[in-house]
């Protein structure tokens, strides 16, 4: 065998083997040594790998349907940021979506996935005979993992954060899916690890809040986590020209819900009012405000009758 090819292959194989070994050591002995070994091995290339692995998880969610750079670029015009997860219902647990809008207001379906999440659709590029032939060999329908198939995404999420512990999206995605799969203990451990690695991330506090809300119904604790998320958001976005309003909307929405659940209607109203200013669908938020004010009136009126 010629030397360059052998070297190339041995490098690939060596990297994979070392990654496997490092992950195994990580599992057996603890994380710090493992992280430093990966850092030494891959340097800043870790971030590229992390993003690739997270995109891979997204592809797994769509059973192999994988948007290319070209498709993403074509569809990205007018689109938005990588979103935090956490909205309820629908396909809120979509893995990663530069093209997916998960920013709808609380209380609604997060988004109509099949309309908004177009990146998993076969893209409409030039239609020549080679493209038509090639299309017959690729996964050609927009489908999602079903039932316990969700677990198939987990290795890529884990690998993404191993590669880049500051990849907040990967932690948020993992936290969401572990929660969805009923692995609350693993979800909490994963998000706590995320918090240690990213202490200033509002997204992680938000995910922790969601986890608390859904698994323990400890509204007080969830509310505190959302307030911390708000503080972190303000610290990170205060001086930005284009602050991350989507993340803010999500935090405010959930915070309002928690206040509502605890009967703290004034605080909830305050959150909704702020939310209305930043939400892409203020009408929907106004409807929620109207409902809340109606309920507040109902609560007050028996008192006044008395």
């Amino acid at each position: 065998m010629r030397r360059p090819a052998l070297i190339l292959l041995l490098l690939c194989a060596g990297s994979l083997a070392l990654t496997g070994w490092v992950l195994r050591q990580d599992a057996l002995r603890g994380r710090d040594q493992a992280k430093s070994a990966l850092a030494v091995l891959l340097g800043d290339g870790r971030r590229l790998f992390a993003n690739h692995f997270l995109a891979k998880a997204d592809a797994y969610f769509h059973r192999g349907r994988y948007p290319s750079l070209f498709e993403v670029a074509e569809k990205q015009a007018g689109n938005h940021l990588v979103e935090s997860l956490g909205s309820e219902g629908g396909d809120a647990g979509h893995v990663q979506g530069p093209e997916c809008d998960h920013s709808a207001g609380p209380g609604e379906e997060a988004h109509a996935h099949d309309e908004a999440c177009e990146h998993a659709e076969p893209s409409g590029g030039p239609d020549d005979w080679i493209a038509r032939l090639a299309a017959r060999f690729e996964p050609d329908r927009h489908v999602h993992l079903e039932g316990d198939e969700d677990k198939e995404m987990l290795p890529w999420v884990k690998l993404a954060v191993e590669m880049d512990p500051h990849n907040v999206d990967a932690y948020a995605v993992g936290g969401y899916w572990l929660r969805e799969m009923g692995k609350t203990r693993e979800a909490e451990a994963f998000l706590r690890e995320a918090q240690r690695n990213n202490p200033d991330s509002c997204e992680i506090y938000f995910e922790l809040g969601r986890l608390t809300e859904l698994t323990t119904q400890d509204w007080g604790k969830a509310g505190r986590l959302y307030r911390l998320a708000l503080v972190k958001w303000q610290a990170a976005n205060a001086k930005l020209e284009k602050p991350d309003l989507i993340a803010l909307a999500q935090i405010l929405g959930r915070s309002a819900k928690v206040h509502e659940a605890q009967g703290e209607y004034e605080a909830a109203l305050q959150d909704y009012t702020l939310l209305k200013r930043v939400s892409p669908s203020p009408e929907a938020v106004q409807r929620l405000i109207d409902q809340l004010q109606k309920r507040m009136a109902e609560v007050r009126s028996p008192k006044s009758e008395r």
């Binding site: 052998l6 194989a13 059973r63 192999g64 032939l133």
Partner: protein
């Protein structure tokens, strides 16, 4: 034809007696088993990521085997001067070339079967099912793709030094594999003369990505329609024939001394 098979048999025997294949197979198996032994979030029956890694390694290993085996055939014959006693026999250069190609292609086919048997065992152990039709399609399409690669490497070996041929063929294959299918989009965007040039490249290159159905077998999609498989087979055979015809023309005119 017997002469072509005789040359092919020597190529296969050479591959069997060299260590390359065994080293690559052991590496593939070891890395797959190592990666498969890792547990994520206490889930110990995750299958697709192990299948993905195993298939990626199989693709890399067989690509290297195909390019190195095909790329070294003619230069090694010339370098070790074995070509001289061979051509002193009643065999034409075209037959030698055809035998070399056939030998490489069959040898790569044998390695593919061994690699995919391992993949089948891994898949069966993890998922407790073996979609045979899908796997047969995967092996067949992969083999066709490697046939094109072997023909390309043989042609390259007549034009370049072995090291340059190896590097350029591997880079070209990976380039076609990853961006070949998007050249039409780039051409459409570029427009004008450069657009036409990119279109020309798009239609000239063999679209190796067609033969890659890894996503389908990792994620358990239904088999590819057989009509498409037949079309792809024809497409591959046309490219192999064209590349070999070009190689034969060159080889017939190439001075040996």
């Amino acid at each position: 034809m017997n002469r072509v098979f005789a040359v092919a048999a020597v190529v296969i025997r050479e591959l069997i007696r060299r260590k390359d294949f065994y080293v690559l197979f052991v590496l593939t198996a070891a890395i797959t088993l190592l990666m498969g032994s890792i547990t994520f979030f206490n889930e110990d029956d995750i299958a697709r990521y192990v299948k993905e890694i195993c298939l990626l390694l199989i693709w890399l290993a067989t690509l290297v085997i195909a390019v190195t085996t095909a790329g070294r055939q003619l230069p090694a014959e010339k370098e070790s001067r074995t070509i001289f006693p061979l051509l002193a026999k009643p065999i034409s250069r075209t037959e030698v070339l055809a035998g070399k190609f056939l030998g490489c292609w069959l040898a790569v086919g044998i390695t593919l079967i061994v690699f995919y048997l391992f993949f089948g065992v891994i898949s069966l152990a993890r998922e407790h099912e073996l979609p045979l039709v899908n796997y047969l399609q995967a092996v067949w399409l992969h083999w066709l793709m490697l046939g094109i690669v072997a023909a390309l490497a043989l042609l390259g070996s007549l034009l370049m030094t072995p090291a340059a041929n190896l590097s350029i063929v591997i880079l070209a294959v990976i380039g076609i594999w990853t961006v070949g299918e998007f050249l039409n989009r780039v051409a459409a965007k570029a427009g004008g003369v450069s657009g036409w040039l990119i279109y020309a490249v798009y239609y000239a290159i063999p679209h190796l990505e067609i033969f890659d159905i890894r996503e389908r077998i990792i994620h358990g999609w239904e088999p590819v329609p057989w009509g498409a498989v037949i079309l792809a087979s024809g497409y591959a055979l046309v490219y192999m024939a064209m590349l070999l015809a070009a190689a034969a023309l060159l080889f017939r005119r190439k001075p040996l001394t």
